[in-house]
């Protein structure tokens, strides 16, 4: 317990918590049952985002011979990463002693050893006195570690060996996700100390996974389809998108780690950005393609949600409107024009929506962060338009670091797996579909 308290106090003194407010009102930290109740629920909501939500969102977009493979990848990511997270991941990402200063923690909390049920989380955001259990913080972070590699699935859908996908996910978790989470979110992370603002993972989750998706799509190459094919089940995709929207309330509003006004503010920003983005995408669809489409609103909402993620706890409603609208405009341009022009096959637009949306939102946080939002929580969270140009530069730097790490880490991992085992299935397997070839099962029967 002592080291946790000490950690909290040191961090307060430095004002260096990525998630932390400055100054504590004298009260000693104690467990808040209200905060704990909310974060327990929020953790379950974030779990729901990977499976079933993301699984359905992605699963509907592929051909019917590959839908089980997508659902399986999402499901097994939940299982594998959860186990690895409590084993080593949480400790390496968040421990207060470090193997590489500012970049990587150590093994002191392996298997969550030493974290007793009554231990309070050293991490807090808006409520320094009202803490949640340390175990709960570890689980909340677990669900973020689960969804991040799962997002990349969209890039290599329909053509990656299942075994290689598993190896990739494990390696990527430790070599890319864990260091970046430490840099941005841990007490000692060097980007955290610079004051980077990433409320719920625009940089750690979305830029990171999005860039990894782009690298994977480039490395593995285009699918063998001669012509574009329609998604096999758009109802799946739309329902998945709505479930992502639902789960995102846990993702963003849960990231205040407290049941308070900041959580409500993040909730408002999240819902507003998703709504505006969906409407704007529908308008663009109508103007450019003639009809408002189901796939359009589903994609728009997810782009808006990805973009608002880093900003959710920092921007006001006006900022949420701007970020939501901008995300649809930019992501539409990326997936409709840039992708076609450059010819990379980011199958389900993991880069085009999550990477680009996350990048946009992370930079917009540096522009539109409104100090009034944090006034009651210690203040000092202003973006460029509120007179703090330094914040924009910090955001820019953090995004550049995330892009560089994700780019290099992903490329090295893919190359290593390719040399040892091969990443892509052969063309006959690809033509037959991954469901029957990788899992010996089929999603649908035609005649029993």
């Amino acid at each position: 317990m002592n080291h946790l308290r000490k950690l909290a106090i040191v961090a307060l003194a430095l004002g260096a918590f990525p998630l932390a407010a400055q100054g504590v009102g004298g009260a000693l930290p104690a467990l808040s049952t209200g905060n704990t109740a909310w974060v327990l629920v929020a953790t379950a909501l974030v779990m729901f985002m990977t499976m079933p939500a993301l699984g359905m969102f992605y699963g509907g977009l592929v051909r019917k011979k590959n839908v089980l493979n997508i659902l399986m990848q999402c499901f097994i990511t939940l299982a594998v990463v959860s186990a690895l997270w409590v084993a080593f991941g949480y400790s390496l990402a968040f421990s207060d002693s470090e193997l590489i200063p500012g970049v990587l923690g150590d093994f002191k909390w392996s298997f969550l050893s030493g974290i007793t049920p009554d231990a309070l989380s050293p991490y807090f955001v808006s409520d320094p006195a009202g803490r949640i259990p340390h175990l709960l913080f570890a689980m909340f972070q677990c669900m973020f570690a689960v969804i991040t590699p799962a997002l990349i699935i969209g890039a290599f859908a329909e053509r990656m060996k299942f075994s290689s996908f598993l190896a990739f996910t494990v390696a990527w978790l430790f070599l890319v996700y864990v260091p970046l989470a430490h840099m941005v979110w841990s007490t000692n992370g060097w980007l955290a100390r610079l004051g980077v603002m990433d409320f719920a993972g625009g940089i750690v989750v979305h830029v990171n996974a999005g860039v990894a998706a782009l690298v994977t799509a480039l490395y593995i190459g285009r699918r063998n389809a001669l012509k574009p094919f329609p998604p096999h089940n758009l109802p799946f995709t739309l329902i998945g998108s709505a479930m992502l929207w639902f789960g995102w309330f846990g993702f963003n509003a849960g990231s205040s780690l407290a049941a308070d006004g900041l959580a409500a503010s993040a909730f408002v920003a999240t819902n507003t950005a998703a709504a505006v983005a969906a409407v704007v995408w529908a308008l663009i669809d109508r103007l450019i393609n003639g009809k408002a489409t189901i796939l359009g609103v589903a994609t728009g909402a997810v782009a808006g949600l990805a973009a608002i993620t880093p900003a959710a706890g920092f921007v006001n409603v006006g900022g949420a409107f701007l970020i939501g609208a901008a995300s649809s405009v930019v992501c539409f341009f990326m997936v409709s024009f840039v992708k076609a022009r450059l010819g990379y096959d980011d199958a389900l637009d993991a880069f085009g929506c999550h990477g680009v949306g996350g990048l946009l939102g992370s930079l917009c946080t540096g522009l539109f962060a409104d100090p009034a939002i944090w006034k009651a929580y210690g203040g000092g969270r202003a973006g460029l338009v509120y007179g703090n140009p330094r914040q924009f530069l910090v955001q820019l730097l953090a995004c550049a670091v995330a892009v560089a790490l994700a780019f290099a880490g992903t490329a090295i991992i893919l190359k290593a797996i390719d040399v040892l085992h091969g990443v892509r299935v052969d063309s006959k397997v690809e033509a037959m579909g991954l469901d029957i070839t990788q899992h010996e099962e089929r999603a649908y029967t035609i005649i029993e």
Binding site: M432, E441, I446
Partner: protein, 113 residues
């Protein structure tokens, strides 16, 4: 007039379509069917229980052609659908008694193309 019916591997459909278009055969009907020839069925595994003897998914093409197009159609299908392995499928050709284009009432060879 002939009716060409072909049973092919599902994953060969795209290539067969391309080959048919290249041979100027543009009017086809495609359906998803189950069946098997000498290849036998496929095994699927559910909760560890292997279910053998399941029928295989195949694609059936139906193409009505005038005499001059019969050989090009057969050649296009065979060249694109062939892998050399058991299960590549078959092509059946029957005489076609009559064709009527519903919109115009045209009959016979005129109605085909």
């Amino acid at each position: 007039m002939k009716m060409v019916v072909a049973i092919i591997q599902p994953y060969k459909l795209e290539e067969v379509k391309e080959a048919l278009y290249a041979a100027d055969v543009n009017l086809i009907t495609v359906s998803e069917v189950l069946g098997h020839g000498r290849q036998g069925g496929v095994a699927e595994v559910y909760r560890g229980n292997k279910e053998t003897g399941n029928l295989l998914r195949k694609i059936r093409l139906e193409i009505a052609v005038n005499e001059a197009f019969v050989e090009p159609t057969i050649k296009a299908i065979q060249s694109a659908a062939r892998t050399g392995e058991v299960g590549d499928g078959k092509i059946f050709v029957y005489d076609l008694a009559e064709v009527v284009r519903i919109r115009t009432g045209e009959r016979g060879g005129e109605a085909i193309g």
